[in-house]
Symmetry: D2
């Protein structure tokens, strides 16, 4: 994620996000993904509410996460998000969740993953997003993005 | 809960229900409450889907829980539920969550609580449930139920 | 909540917080309560991590919520929190969750509730919090707080 | 999933599992995955509690889900699970979530996915599971399983 169109937001780990292993439960990272892409959309494209208002929804059709290190209660996490693989009816968001840690020189990459979304209308038919929204999404993507996060980072 | 109209169901504690304290997170018991009242309704009254189908919903207007002992990962919990305080537009469910424990003579009461629900139509106006449903609910209630679970049990 | 020791924080409603009724699921407000009291503690008393570091935990022994109006996807909520009923081993937090709404003159009160917490050591025995922490908590409480939020507001 | 070592369990969709789109929120399927693999382990290998009791944990290192159709409130879902790709320190579970639908001849595949788990000790070091457990897991796997669920089914 070296391109300049990376959106950054943060979130604090609640007790309710952790499990008896003392770390964030694996499903909760998908909530962090949602928080990050929602904020990216609101600030750079349009709010998801506006998409719903024109009769479209963008359900997740695929998601992936690789867990590299644990997140703990009260950690302040940074989520980096970028848009890629914009197609006629679908687009992808890539995520990197990082813990800022004052005691180490390098921040720790905890999770990387992606979600793919399809634009559909109210009866579930694939539908193109309005050109105005597509244009904004297009301006955020880079040509060389790959679908699946690479294994080595 | 000595009356005979107590509905009993069970649920197994998932890792995802626990928190870093090693016990079930306090908000998750409200999910167990939901599971229990849904099953009671389905088996003894009518499914909640049928209530939605006639244009009514029954949102929670109040909930209460007293936490007496912890529930742990993989515990098999019993949830006892009863209907009480049936009024024109509202009704109450009382819950007791118990851990069956082979190594002790007595099961352990973990949580007791209640939820109060109002019947409203699609514009949020208080609306009477159909008499057929009210009749079934009435048959499940006992005159001497009190609103708030007593402190001593 | 007219006293000046009210702590204010905010949170944005995720899709993952809502349910098929189109509104925030009732159990999720307990997560918002947690977020609010955690931030109050961090900023005004000490972080919950520091309490754990001295071998104490503060489990919820009781919680209550009254739901007055619905919260919707993407709402920006304000959570007002105050400490009250400080006792030897227990304390209470009161919460008010409010939606700021530009189109109305008055903000809308959605939920009010409380949680009661006990300080216990690692074997579950009631234990007094360190005097330094008690002193800070004491400075936040007002004598006339009542345990249960009043019905009329 | 044509081999005979497919474990089948079921779960009912709670209101708390759904979102404002009227369908199950994408992260909740990971909870259903957990429920399914936990039950498979308990019935065919050993309970996860027993693994913890010997000082090992099996965190998720990778997860994937492809969402093909929506699950709705109150749906009774079937989860098919199988073990595959058993390696020295890791193993994989494949899942298929299906809705039984009385009104259709064929059940509907809603979600397929997998999780990969690593066995680690209490300081996070990769550790081999006891041979007794490995033997049981081995007996459940088939040689031709592939890591990533195929796109066509």
């Amino acid at each position: 994620m070296k391109n300049k169109r990376v959106f950054t937001t943060s979130c604090r780990v609640l007790y309710g996000d952790t499990d008896a292993g003392g770390v964030v439960y694996y499903a909760h990272f998908l909530r962090y993904f949602e928080k990050a892409r929602t904020e990216l959309m609101r600030q750079w494209v349009c709010s998801y509410r506006e998409i719903e208002a024109i009769g479209l929804i963008m359900p997740v059709t695929e998601c992936f996460a690789r867990y590299k290190a644990s997140a703990f209660y009260d950690d302040l996490l940074t989520i980096e998000t970028e848009v890629c693989n914009l197609r006629k009816y679908t687009c992808q968001f890539n995520y990197r969740i990082i813990r800022q840690d004052d005691t180490r020189i390098k921040p720790t990459l905890l999770v990387k993953g992606y979600t793919i979304h399809a634009a559909v209308n109210q009866v579930g038919k694939l539908t193109k997003l309005p050109e105005e929204i597509m244009e904004k999404l297009r301006s955020l993507t880079t040509p060389d993005n790959t679908t699946v996060p690479e294994q080595n980072d």
